[in-house]
């Protein structure tokens, strides 16, 4: 099978398929030809040095912004502005400040109704909402507003709010980055258990490499630190420099793996490949060992000829 056939196969079979995606702001290139296929049920973690465009890629996936070139498909269909099939949890602002926890969690259910239908469906919806709040251990805080909750509690409610929607893929943008280490670890465990239980597809952006290695069944690293056959001074956007399969892909792992030598060496290796500005790999030598990873860097692309002309919008 050649590259074309693999790509066509992935385009149809993947849950999420990103191909030749560019993103520029003015003259600055952020994402420089991104290719990625995500299968259903994967826990994908996306890391990279600050400013590499991790969050930009997540915004493209959920449709908050449009790519300047390339295509983003879900099960073969092109994606547009945000829809319920892609859920999202942000570091902040996931919860609406004027709604209590239970109102936030049941919001998607209430939005599906006309205001006059609310009364007859109220009981079922509130029961379902409480069920989800119990799942994230927040049932005692159902009547509180987000401002009355701690950071960790807010993220629990935000996860429940996104879960109830049963989206195809749940995108998370640094959801635990503002939390203290203890809360963070307990939420990491919680998220893994949840993933094991629901078999949902997670797309998790973080700047914390250990978190990414610990959580993901697949780790993607974006980085602007690489070299290719273009002029060495040419401004480069980030590419996927690491795409690796990690951990047992079917069950949650205890945090004790973090202290194993294997874990430490993986972290160190990826830190060098993605986070070290002086370690410049050539595009042809990236560690893209994940079975679903494929490379479209043909000779033309390596030389810097872009296959897709960027235009306004897609």
């Amino acid at each position: 099978m050649n590259g074309e056939q693999i790509r066509d196969g992935l385009r149809k079979s993947s849950l999420l398929h990103i191909e030749d995606v560019y993103k520029r702001y003015g003259s600055k290139t952020i994402l420089d030809d991104i290719d990625l296929s995500v299968a259903s049920g994967e826990f994908v973690t996306l890391v990279g040095p600050s400013g590499c465009g991790k969050s930009t890629l997540l915004r493209l996936v959920i449709g908050q912004e449009a790519p300047c070139g390339g295509s983003i498909l879900m099960e073969g269909e092109p994606l547009g502005p945000p829809t319920p099939e892609r859920g999202v949890v942000y570091q902040n602002y996931s919860l609406f400040p004027h709604l209590t926890s239970i109102e936030n969690v049941t919001l998607s259910r209430r939005l599906a109704l006309q205001p006059w239908q609310w009364h007859s469906r109220k009981k079922t919806i509130l029961e379902e909402g409480m069920h989800y709040l119990e799942k994230v251990s927040m049932a005692d805080h159902a009547q509180k507003f987000p401002a009355q909750l701690s950071g960790g509690q807010r993220q629990r409610v935000a996860i429940a709010q996104a879960l109830i929607q049963k989206s195809r893929i749940l995108c998370m943008d640094e959801p635990f980055s503002a939390l203290d280490p203890g809360t963070r670890e307990s939420l990491q465990m919680f998220l893994l258990e949840l993933w094991e239980e629901t078999k949902m597809t997670f797309f998790f952006v973080t700047h914390d490499l250990e978190e990414a290695v610990y959580l993901g069944t697949r780790l993607i690293a974006l980085s602007q630190y690489y070299t290719d056959d273009r002029n060495p001074e040419a401004p480069r956007g980030a590419k996927i420099v690491v795409d690796r399969k990690f951990g047992p892909s079917d069950h949650a792992v205890s945090p004790s793996v973090k202290s194993t030598a294997e874990f430490a060496s993986a972290v160190q290796e990826i830190r060098k490949q993605a986070f070290d500005p002086h370690y410049l790999q050539h595009v042809t030598s990236f560690d893209l060992s994940h079975p679903m990873s494929w490379v479209t860097h043909n000779a033309g692309e390596v030389a810097g000829e872009q296959p897709v002309q960027p235009g306004p919008g897609r």
């Binding site: 400040p97 599906a112 507003f145």
Partner: protein
Amino acid sequence: MKTPKLFGLHAKPGGWFGFFLASLPFLLLIIVYMIASDARLAINPNDKVLPSFSHMADAIVRMATKPDRRSGDLLLWSDTFASLRRLFIGVGAGALVGLMVGLNTAIFPGLRAMSRSFLTFLSIIPPLTLLPILFIAFGVGETAKVMLIFIGTVFVISRDLHLYVLQLPKEQITKALTLGASDLAVTYRIVLPQIMPRLIETTRLTLGGAWLFLIAAEMISATEGLGYRIGLVRRYLAMDVIIPYVLWITLLGFLLDWLLRLAVARLYPWYRTGKE
């Protein structure tokens, strides 16, 4: 170390002393007025410029309890009622229209592109310069006065809410869309409830301007109203009526301000907790 009560950065003027400090400027003002009034009255007992307190009390009791010889109304109350009615209709309409315009032009880029320059242009016209046009267009009745208050408040409110909506995190709108909200649901079920307390606060701040337009319009053309009465009795140098009227208007303004603040705290408890 002893915490200073009055001087320095670390002073904590609390309790009765704090209350005393708060009343001090008021007491001083009253004392200065009394001295000046006494001095003038000692020279000329019929002086009208700085009437004594008892004189002012007599005048205001007369305005509040004795029917007017000509109309049979209790003037203080009929004036208050007429003025508040104009104020409420004008400001209420300004708040409602300002809310809808500010909200929709902030959410929908098409409307924003169409309205931004035009609204800025309209909002820069000094409303008082429109007063002659309003009198010509709507006559000297109620409509012109209410319109002046409306025009004087609607642009401030709509621009403020417009900017406020633009400051809401973009993530919220994306989030609402991922929860299945339509464009209209985002606007009226997600954003609108969030800006209601801001609407009340903005309205509260525009009330000062609204009073200005109300009094100005009433002084120029009216048959009753607080501003009309002040303008009327000015001809007779009736400071014994003017000063209590000014204090009364101040008190009304203060009460309205307090009520609106109370409304925000009661109706939208999440609004303040989010800011602290």
